[in-house]
């Protein structure tokens, strides 16, 4: 038996990095920001886990500001420029702004690998058809875990550092990745969301592909995947 939590899982895993959140909080502090709005805890801290976020903010000496007294419709489309008196934003804290480190890392597992012949289709509606013989990996994670359906044919994942596209319709719990001649086997880890600064697939790609808010994309992933805290 493998250690609990260490082996391949049938659902994608979202690892929330305490050190990344800490680094983002310290970067804000270095600019003189030392407060947070209670809104960072909305939707369980955008799916990152409010308990962890509270711990980091407390450890880094952040204090709450009063909630806004007027009702403001935030869309996330236009983040206000940071000012010293502005509380740290959720986007900055969770690493969704340029120059910050994403706190959430999403990985899936290769369930199986198979051949696809020229002319054959993939997944519901056969939206993808192979132009030549190729190879596919079936990977855990679908729209029920926030890998939204519109990402099929629009974004890449990475396996062992190499990029591969999601092809065909994303299903409720799985998606199909074209691996061509890459050496990939059942049980391999698939990086779905990582750090753009390291050249990894990132939430910015998803925002471009879907037009949705970063907040709603990351929140569903965090709430619906298997969530674990990482160092």
């Amino acid at each position: 038996m493998s250690m609990p939590g260490s082996g391949p899982r049938s659902a994608p895993v979202a690892r929330i990095s305490r050190s990344a959140i800490t680094a983002n909080a310290r970067a804000a502090r270095a600019r003189g920001v030392h407060s947070f709005s209670p809104s960072v805890f909305e939707a369980d801290a955008w799916g990152h886990g409010a308990v962890l976020i509270r711990e980091v903010l407390a450890a880094e000496g952040f204090v709450p500001v009063d909630a806004p007294t007027t009702l403001v419709l935030t869309t996330g489309a236009h983040a206000a420029p940071d000012r010293p008196q502005t509380p740290v934003s959720a986007r900055e804290l969770f690493g969704l702004e340029p120059g910050t480190t994403p706190a959430l890392r999403l990985t899936g597992t290769v369930l199986s690998v198979k051949d696809l012949r020229a002319g054959e289709g993939v997944s519901y509606g056969y939206l993808y058809r192979a132009s030549s013989d190729t190879r596919l990996a079936l990977v855990t994670g679908g729209y029920a875990q926030g890998i939204v359906r519109a990402l099929g044919g629009a974004v890449d994942v990475a396996i062992a550092g190499e990029r591969h596209p999601i092809i065909g319709r994303v299903a409720m719990d799985v998606c199909v990745v074209e691996i061509r001649d890459a050496v990939v086997q059942r049980g391999d880890e698939v990086l779905v969301l990582g750090d753009p600064a390291a050249g990894e697939p990132s939430l910015a790609d998803w925002v471009r592909a879907t037009g949705l808010f970063p907040a709603e994309l990351i929140t569903t992933v965090g709430l619906r995947s298997i969530r674990e805290e990482a160092p």
């Binding site: 038996m1 391949p8 049938s10 939707a43 009702l71």
Partner: protein
């Protein structure tokens, strides 16, 4: 937060009856993956079991074991995703029926069955064109021969042969069914005679009688979620069992604020496109924010009024599929995006 998802369990029972009547004599497998499509696994499987449903489709072993924990020993629970040896051991212990579409996984399952000194019920999966899991047709004869040998050995009991169809077009689904028929013949030639042949999901189970075989795997229709671009729930004789609501929290000159937004799972792409239900009937959804939305106001709109985002239509709201069609997706995605933090309220 006032947002809540009402789940009408009486409507679920009525939908189950409707589906079973439609597909008879084929049996219904109720698909309950992803927390019963967001409606709540525990109440849904209890309601279905009380209504006489005897087969549950669980996607993965984790979900299958959860169904077994709720329902106990009686019902058949089918899972078709096992990611590890741990999963296989759990499946054997929970006496799940396992869908196997990979030759290596079959060998690993036999190891797990031997280790537990158990025999496992297996449904062999042929890939009829979807190219997800499933054994390719050219590899199928060797696969079923190996399965027959393992069955003679006692570690597995092959009870099913199954596949998923792509629902790209009737003609392509017919091609897939021809592949399925060949797979059944080749299985028979190898000495495998499954008692449960299953191919169809929601849409085909209603529209294509020849796809029903012994059992159909239905999730969406049982929850009253019609197919995008397909017949209405009314035409199908089904009703949505989920109703997503929230309260008005402020009233402005042109719009009311509702405390339900994109962070609760309502896609922001519905902004300016969708209509929702109000006490005065259907009104435009002007904007979707992270935590709040703006809805076109109505005379005497008041704080505390109920706005319905999707549901059966009593307040003029559309269904989850109606919303989905506005943004190029399907009703299932709208249903499963509803945040698990939104309380589920059960009505009987």
């Amino acid at each position: 937060m006032t947002a809540r998802l009402h789940v009408d369990l009486a409507a679920l029972t009525a939908n189950l009856d409707r589906v079973r009547t439609t597909v008879a004599p084929a049996e219904l497998m109720l698909v309950v993956k992803d927390d019963a499509y967001g409606h709540g696994l525990d109440p849904v499987v209890r309601t279905a079991a009380a209504a006489g449903v005897n087969w549950f489709g669980a996607f993965d072993v984790r979900t299958g074991a959860a169904v077994r924990a709720v329902l106990g020993g009686g019902p058949r629970i089918f899972a078709w995703i096992a990611a590890s040896r741990d999963d296989l051991d759990t499946a054997v212990a929970a006496r799940l029926d396992l869908g196997i579409g990979d030759a290596d996984l079959l060998e690993e399952l036999v190891d797990a069955a031997h280790a537990a000194d158990a025999s496992v019920r297996v449904h062999l999966k042929i890939d009829t064109g979807l190219h997800r899991n499933g054994v390719r047709p050219e590899e199928w004869p060797a696969f079923v021969q190996r399965a027959a040998a393992l069955q003679a050995d006692g570690a597995i009991d092959v009870v099913g042969v199954w596949s998923h169809i792509a629902e790209a077009s009737d003609a392509e689904d017919d091609d897939a069914r021809a592949v399925y028929e060949s797979a059944l013949s080749e299985a028979a030639a190898a000495g495998i005679h499954p008692s449960v042949r299953h191919l169809a999901a929601s849409a085909a189970s209603f529209a294509r009688p020849e796809f029903r075989y012994d059992m159909v795997r239905v999730g969406a229709f049982c929850y009253g979620i019609r197919s995008a671009g397909g017949p209405s729930a009314d035409e199908l004789g089904l009703a949505p069992i989920g109703r997503l609501e929230a309260d008005v929290v402020a009233v402005g000159p042109d719009s009311v604020h509702v405390d339900l937004g994109a962070l609760h799972g309502m896609p922001s792409s519905l902004s300016g496109r969708a209509a929702v239900g109000t006490p005065a009937g259907s009104r435009s959804l002007h904007a979707v924010g992270e935590s709040h939305s703006l809805v076109q106001t109505w005379p005497v709109a008041a704080v505390g009024d109920t706005v319905t985002v999707f549901g059966p239509g009593a307040q003029g709201e559309g269904s989850s599929t109606d919303l989905a069609e506005l943004i190029g997706t399907i009703g299932e995605e709208i249903a499963v995006r509803v945040s698990p933090l939104v309380p589920r309220v059960y009505e009987r």
